[in-house]
Symmetry: C2
Subunit: 460 residues, 2 copies
Amino acid sequence: MTDLHARLAAIVGAANLLTDPHDLAPAVTDMRGRYTGLPLAMALPASRDEVTALVTLCAAEGIAIVPQGGNTSTCGAATPDTSGRQLIIGLRRMQRVRHIDAANLSITVDAGCTLAQVQQAAASVGRLFPLSLASEGSCQIGGNLSTNAGGLAVLRYGTMRELTLGLEVVLPDGTLLDALSALRKDTTGLDVKQLFIGAEGQLGLITGATLKLFALPTAYSTALLAVDSAEAAIAALNALQARFGDRLTTFEMISEPCQRISERHKPGCMPFFAPWALLVELSDGGEPAALQASFEQWLGGQDFHDGVLAQSETERASLWQLREDISDMQKREGPSIKHDIGVPSSAIPAFLASCGAALDAAFPGVRIVAFGHAGDGNLHYNISYTRPGNAELFTDEDAVNAIVYEHVYRYRGTLAAEHGIGQLKAHWLSQYKDPVALAIMRGIKQQLDPHSIMNPGRWL
Amino acid sequence: MTDLHARLAAIVGAANLLTDPHDLAPAVTDMRGRYTGLPLAMALPASRDEVTALVTLCAAEGIAIVPQGGNTSTCGAATPDTSGRQLIIGLRRMQRVRHIDAANLSITVDAGCTLAQVQQAAASVGRLFPLSLASEGSCQIGGNLSTNAGGLAVLRYGTMRELTLGLEVVLPDGTLLDALSALRKDTTGLDVKQLFIGAEGQLGLITGATLKLFALPTAYSTALLAVDSAEAAIAALNALQARFGDRLTTFEMISEPCQRISERHKPGCMPFFAPWALLVELSDGGEPAALQASFEQWLGGQDFHDGVLAQSETERASLWQLREDISDMQKREGPSIKHDIGVPSSAIPAFLASCGAALDAAFPGVRIVAFGHAGDGNLHYNISYTRPGNAELFTDEDAVNAIVYEHVYRYRGTLAAEHGIGQLKAHWLSQYKDPVALAIMRGIKQQLDPHSIMNPGRWL
C-alpha cells in the first residue's frame, strides 16, 4: 500500500478502499462489456464530508476521479482508464433518504440511493417519483442526474432535469456547492445546478439532490393498439393528448420486426401483429373504473383495426412485460448496432421512411428493429442484419452510423437522446454538435476543473 | 449624429435608431417608475443578423448593451444607466412566429413576440402555450426567458425554463449560438441554453426560442373556496392534487385583508370573506360537463365552510377578475413595500405565522396584504402600513425587508421567486445567495462576457 492509498484509507476506512482485483471487478468493466479499466483503487465514502475530503486530496495530488453510481452506463461513462492512476469513487454507502416533504411534493436523498429506493420512499408516503427505466433496481440517483436520464414516463413527467429541484455537489477543488432547494420558482441568479445535470461527472461529484414528487395515481388504464403506419401512430398520440392531457403517461411504439422477435422467443406473447403496436397507458387519481370507462369510450370512437385493453392488473402487467422484454428478446437474436436517437415526434414517420430507404439502398435486406418512447421522439433504432451471413455486422457499423446520424440531423434530432455520450460517442459529439455550444461547454470545464480532475478523457 | 450613431443606423436603418428623447421616453424609465436612464440610443433590429451586427459593433467599440423586451421588469432589469454610453436594443420589430409544429407540440418564435402573440399563435392550431401573467399583452418572450417568468400556471406547466426546448442567442462577442431544438430528450453534452434562462440579459441577447405547447383544454371548472387557515389551504392543495393530478392548473391564495380591499373598491365583488379564499381551477380535454361533475362530486365530500363554483363562463370570468384586480385595488389603497417571495408550499403556514408575528412585534398593527401562487410556494407579501400616519412606510423598508427575508431564508425560501433581481435586489442577492453559487455565476460571466458588454451593472 502506497502512502496515497494510506491517506485515502484514512478518509473512508481501510475496509472501504477497494484495491483487490476481485473486489474491484464489478466496477472496472462497464455494463455492456465494452470497456475495462485499471483504477488506482475504489473509495466508498459514507458521507458528503468524506467525499469532500477525498476530492480535496485528489485535487492536491493530481489524481483523477471517476464517479460511479450503479455502473449501468451504456456508453462507458463511468469506467476508468487503464493507467492505474484514476480513483473510482462509488456512492453505494450513501443511500440515505434525508427528508420527504409530502405536502411540498419533494424528497431529498443521498446521490447513492438507487432509483428504486427513491420510488419506494415516495410511495411510502403516498407520492410518486416518476422516473422509470430498465435498470432502476441498480442505477443510482447520482448517475440518473449525471446522464439526465429519461425512460418510460418522460412524455408526462419530463427527464431527470425537469424532476430536479436542488443539488449538492462537491466541486473539482473540493468545495461544496449547496444548491439543495425545494422551490419550484426561484429567480435569484443563474440556476447553477443545471450545469451538473447531464455533465457525466465531468464538472463535480453530485452527493445529494432534492427531487419533485407527484400525487400517486390510484387508477391506470393500459392498452396495446394496432396501427398501420407511423403517421397513424403520431395521430393517435395527438388525439390522446387532446382528450386526456397528462393522464397520458406512456406512449411506446413497437415495430413489427420487434413484435415478431418477441413472439419467436416467447410464443403467444403477442395478441396481434401490425406495422406498429402502441403501448398506451393513462393514469389518474380517483376511481379506476371511471378512468377505464373514459378510455373505453374514447377507443369506441377511434378506428384501431386491432387492440387489447387490459381488464385486470394481471393483463396490464403482461402488456408491460412485452415492452420490458424487448431488449432481452433482441439479445437472443444476436448482436445489433444500437442507436439511442431522438427526433421531434412529428418527424418520426419521415425519419423512418427516409433513413430506412437509405439503409436498404446501402445494405439490401437490412433488418431494422425499432421501438421506443415515441411520445417524446426517442427511438431505439437497432440494426441487426446488414449482409448475408451477417459476419460483417460490426465492420459495417461506421457506415450504418453515418447513414443513421445523417438522417437524424436532417430532422434536427439527436444521436444521444437518453443514454449520454460517455466514451462510446465522444467522437460523434465533436462531429455533430454545434461548435459554439461545444466551446461554451469547454469553457465551463476549464473554469470549474482547470486541472481536469473530474472524469477526464470523456467529451469535455 | 456621431460616427458611432451613423454606423449603428447603417445596420438597422436611420428610422430604427431612436435618439430623440421623446421617442426614447417609453424605454428609459422602468414600469414602476423607479429608474430612469440616459442611453446612447435605442436600436430596433429587424432580424437576427442585424442583432449580430449590432453586438459585433458594440463589442468592438466597448459599448454596453441593454437588451429590452416589453419593458415590464418590476426590478429595473432593462433600464440603462445615466452615462449616455449604453445602447438599448429593443426587439419589437422581431415578432415573427417562425414555425408551429402542432404534432410535436412545439413553436419557434422571434424573441420580440409578445407573450399574448405566442398564446394566440398556439390557440390558432388548437394548442396551448400556458405561460400566463399580468403583463402578457406587452411583455416579450425574450424578457420572459431572461427572467425565467412564472405566473399563474406554474403549478401545472412549470416556469419559462421548463417550457423552453431551444434558444437562439447572440453572444457578447457577436457569435451566434444556435441552440434551437424541438427535442424533449437530448443528452449530447451540457444543456448550454440553460445559462441564458434567468440571466437577465447579462450573458447574451436571446433572439429566438422553441417552446413547448400543450393540448388546448376544452373544459374548465373554477371555484372560489373559503378556508379558515393557511394549513387548511395547503391540505386542500394536496387533496386536489391527489384527486385531479395535473388537471389542477391554478391554486391561488387570497388573504382576508386582500379580500377586504377588493370589496372596498369594488363593492359586491366578494362572494364571502374568510381567512383565506382559494381560487382553484381545473382544466381538461373532453366534455366540460364531465369535469364540472367530477369537481362538484369532490367538493361534496369536502368541508369548505363557504365557496362558489362557477356555473357559466361569465361566472368563471368574474372569479378570475377578482384575482386579476388585486394589484390595482392595492394600488388605490396607497403605496406598499412589495415582496416576491417563495418558500416550499408546505412551509407557507409556518412562514406566515412566524414572519407575521415578528413584523407585528417590530411594527405593532402592521398591515400585511398577502396573496399569490400558493400552489408553487410563491407569495406576493406586501406591507402597506407600519406606523400611525404611515408617513415613514418607505423609511421602514430596510427594517421590514430584513425581517421578511430572515424568515424566508429560515424556511429555505427565495427573495425573488418570479420577478428576478435587476437593479432593485442586487444588494440582497450578494447578502443571501450562497457564495459558492455566486462565484460560479461570476466565472461564467467572465468566460462569456469578459469585457462586460451585456447589461452590465446588474448582479453579475
